[in-house]
Symmetry: C2
């Protein structure tokens, strides 16, 4: 059974541990800079070992793969350290703060013969896989125009996401889902982006709205923010149908989710595809673990390919530059 070590004890670590324990992989160690916090979570979750430093966990020979659940600015250094310690790495989204960092991380994985993947759990959910299948089958023809929105109210004052130097801000936190989804639908990186943002006094983006133009002609509009009520929607209008998701990214594991589909050009009737409940964190952990037996380390999984992570990080950089400079910005190729 594949043995995980978890770096970090925040909300996402809790979610991951809760989903993974009792499944086809196991969590053998948890690390926090606060040993008591690690011990508390380990005990509550039935995890054998708790460490008071990330280094100690990386030195644990039992650990095969590391789940990096740290604030964004620590993704690169600790993923690289984990790779160097010979651990496979599943790193929370966004993989890094820049494309250059992401390349460095994949380089470290390749050099050390380990797998590295950006943890976009929604990519392992049957709803997302069904959307991909529908698009591939041509259920809505060629996607031409996309609108995606992911917003919520960040009302926790002490949160690391308020700090630009820690990789805070709505785009890196939830906008990355919108960028990911648009790239997935397009099947390619955008050529050009135009963004506008509202900034906090601390310098993070509270709201960012952007238009992404793809070489195919597809146009995506994305919006992400920390100032509206929770919502996460996606609309994909093709030249032979339309597809909409009520809940695009954090599908609840305890009830079905729904794809709305209109097949055809003119006034098609609504078809609702109900997707049975699924825990995408568990599917992600088990999918990643299964792949580590294969030989092509460093390349990412089919569900979340390396090339998409690199292009998405380049897109995120371009979006922030566009918002800061008030002009359209070209996105560099892969």
């Amino acid at each position: 059974m594949f043995r995980w070590g978890v770096l970090g004890t925040g909300r996402i670590a809790h979610k991951f541990i809760g989903a993974v324990q009792g499944g086809a992989t196991e969590i053998v160690a948890i690390a926090s800079r606060d040993r008591a916090r690690a011990a508390e979570l380990a005990q509550a979750a039935g995890v054998p070992r708790a460490y008071g430093s990330y280094e100690e966990l990386l030195a644990d020979p039992e650990v095969q793969g590391v789940y990096v659940a740290l604030p964004n600015h620590l993704h690169a250094p600790w993923s690289i350290a984990a790779a160097r310690a010979g651990k496979h790495v599943l790193c929370e989204k966004p993989l890094s703060l820049t494309r250059a960092e992401a390349e460095e991380m994949f380089g470290a994985a390749r050099e050390n013969g380990v797998w590295l993947m950006e943890a976009f759990m929604h990519r392992f959910h049957p709803q997302t896989l069904r959307v991909q299948q529908l698009l591939a089958e041509g259920a809505i023809g060629r996607p031409r125009q996309v609108q995606i929105s992911f917003g919520f109210t960040l009302d926790r004052p002490g949160d690391t996401r308020w700090h630009p130097e820690m990789g805070g801000g709505a785009l890196l936190d939830v906008g990355c889902y919108c960028v990911n989804f648009a790239r997935m639908v397009a099947g390619e990186a955008p050529a050009r982006v135009t963004a506008t943002a509202q900034w906090s006094a601390s310098g993070i983006d509270l709201l960012l709205a952007a238009t992404l133009e793809y070489p195919s002609g597809m146009v995506a509009q994305i919006a992400c923010d920390y100032i509206t009520s929770f919502h996460q929607t996606a609309l994909v209008a093709g030249d032979d149908g339309v597809l909409a998701l009520e809940r695009a990214f954090t599908m609840p594991p305890d009830r079905p989710s729904r794809i709305q589909l209109w097949r055809g050009v003119h006034f098609a009737p609504l078809e609702v595809i109900e997707i049975p409940p699924a825990n995408h964190f568990r599917l992600e952990a088990e999918g990643f673990a299964a792949l580590t037996a294969a030989g092509h380390a460093g390349h990412g999984l089919p569900e979340m390919p390396l090339v998409e992570t690199l292009e998405n990080m380049a897109t995120i950089e371009a979006l922030l530059r566009s918002a800061r400079e008030g002009r359209a910005v070209e996105v560099g190729g892969a």
Copy 2:
């Protein structure tokens, strides 16, 4: 009973006539440049008189109000002519091609003591009125981020909407609904717009996607096009709730429409507000007719105020300029 004359015999004229006949107002005359076409429609719809020119209809003393259902570039000249003939004017959307034209039209209405209104029928539909009521009640708090999309496939080769000189293009045709809706939600005109467009060989916009920034801080993203399957959606995310419409503009008169509402900030449950079927063309015609008895000619109706029409035309001009010049454009005040 208020007596209408209809200029034009296109699809929208058919819809209007079908909705109005048998209600609290009546249609007494139809005009087309093709007398046979006018006669045919008049006979089919039980309308007493058919004219082979617009001038003849405007000279008909029985006609109290004119419904202008002509191609976009004819809205201004024939609305002005109708006002000068002493007729009240309900003119199809978009009222004109520019803000200057719209001002000229309202000037003519004022000088001649008649009412002029832009025919946005959805503004008279109970769904739209309920949305306005919910916003006024604070059901979703302060609107912060809006996404609206209206697209369909224009596959009729001879259509006037393919011609830029006739006021063709997706923005003037269906994007004006998105501009109208965003302005209604914001309660003010946008300060700045940034648009990108895809153009046809004939020079019309096949697709236009834009970000509209409002003085309040609200940001709206709108998309309109002639190249996707039929869809018209709106999402309004506030700081205390979220509201979404499945069908935002052309609500079917034969079945209920639905407002989706989530009240509150975090993970609110979905509330579905079902709106009984209604014919907004009839409501618009009768609302307009009822108002002509009042004394404040030239000012537009409460449902579709003059100031909004003027600001929306200024916004449309700014959007086209932004798309052509590839830069953000300020929208002039009212």
